[in-house]
Amino acid sequence: MLPLALSASEQYVAGAYVVFLALVLSYLAIMATKLGRLEREVVQLTEIAEREPAYDGERTKASVA
């Protein structure tokens, strides 16, 4: 690993940019977690819908039409 020699001023600048990056990444991580939850819910609902007899009937009618 390369040694990174930063002056005190440069450390403050780097700190500010790291804070911004951390903020955006945290937000994206939270949104990704929500997206994962949505994906699981879609899978569950698909399973429920496939078990429903009404769903099968509608699908048959749609395919006939």
């Binding site: 001023s9 403050y12 500010a16 911004f20 949104m31 949505l38 819910e41 429920i48």
Partner: protein, 218 residues
């Protein structure tokens, strides 16, 4: 970006914090005002989608405002030797605006009825959105001497400073819009799935169940 812009003769390398701090502040404040404008649309049309847009805009602006406060404090520490200065009007006004909007989510959460929640939140967003330009206009007129002004910073410097600042501002605005669209899509899908689940499991009328939530319910 950091290497393209020249080192400021007065502040040195610390000035480069402004390329993230100032666009964050401008976009956050514009987001608060936009939240108010979207809330006006909600009250005019009674369409819940406008409430959702207002909520997401304000929510994201609060996140950016946290970044403004932290990066501003880092700059203040490097430049003034203090993390926070109470006699600087710009800082205190921004903190007041942030604390004002920090009450937005608890306000929504405290109202159970989704209709009333949306209406009260819209009124709050309009009043607070009008408060933002009034406050910062008053501070500008007070002519602070310590906090640097964005206009003078970008116009008095070389062209590369202006270009860097404008690129940063554009990038921040695009990031804000993208994240807003991302969150709105997520909230729309969540509500559609909730409706679908109720229909599949209970076979009800498709209306949202009464539940306490800060997020808008369609």
């Amino acid at each position: 970006m950091l290497t393209y812009a020249p080192v400021d003769a007065d502040q040195g390398v610390i000035q480069k914090i402004f390329y993230v701090h100032v666009p964050l502040a401008i976009v956050a404040l514009c987001g608060f005002v936009a939240g108010g404008v979207l809330a006006i649309q909600h009250l005019r049309t009674r369409d819940r989608r406008w409430d959702m847009r207002s909520y997401v805009t304000i929510h994201l602006s609060i996140v950016l405002a946290v970044g403004v406060l932290v990066t501003g404090s880092i700059w203040a520490r490097a430049s003034w030797g203090h993390w926070w200065v109470w006699d600087e009007p710009m800082l205190v006004v921004f903190l007041i605006v942030f604390l004002l909007y920090a009450t937005y989510q608890p306000l929504r959460f405290s109202i159970e009825d989704p209709e009333r929640q949306a209406r009260y939140a819209s009124v709050f967003a309009i009043v607070a959105g009008a408060f933002v330009p009034l406050c910062f206009g008053a501070v500008r007129m007070a002519q602070s001497v310590t906090h640097p002004e964005t206009g003078t910073m970008t116009t008095s410097g070389p062209g590369s400073v202006t270009v860097t600042f404008l690129v940063s501002l554009t990038g921040m605005a695009l990031l804000f819009v993208t994240l807003c669209k991302y969150e709105m899509a997520s909230k729309n899908v969540t509500s559609q799935l909730r409706r679908l689940r109720r229909r599949l499991e209970g076979g009800d009328d498709g209306l949202p169940a009464a539940g306490r939530s800060a997020a808008p319910q369609p």
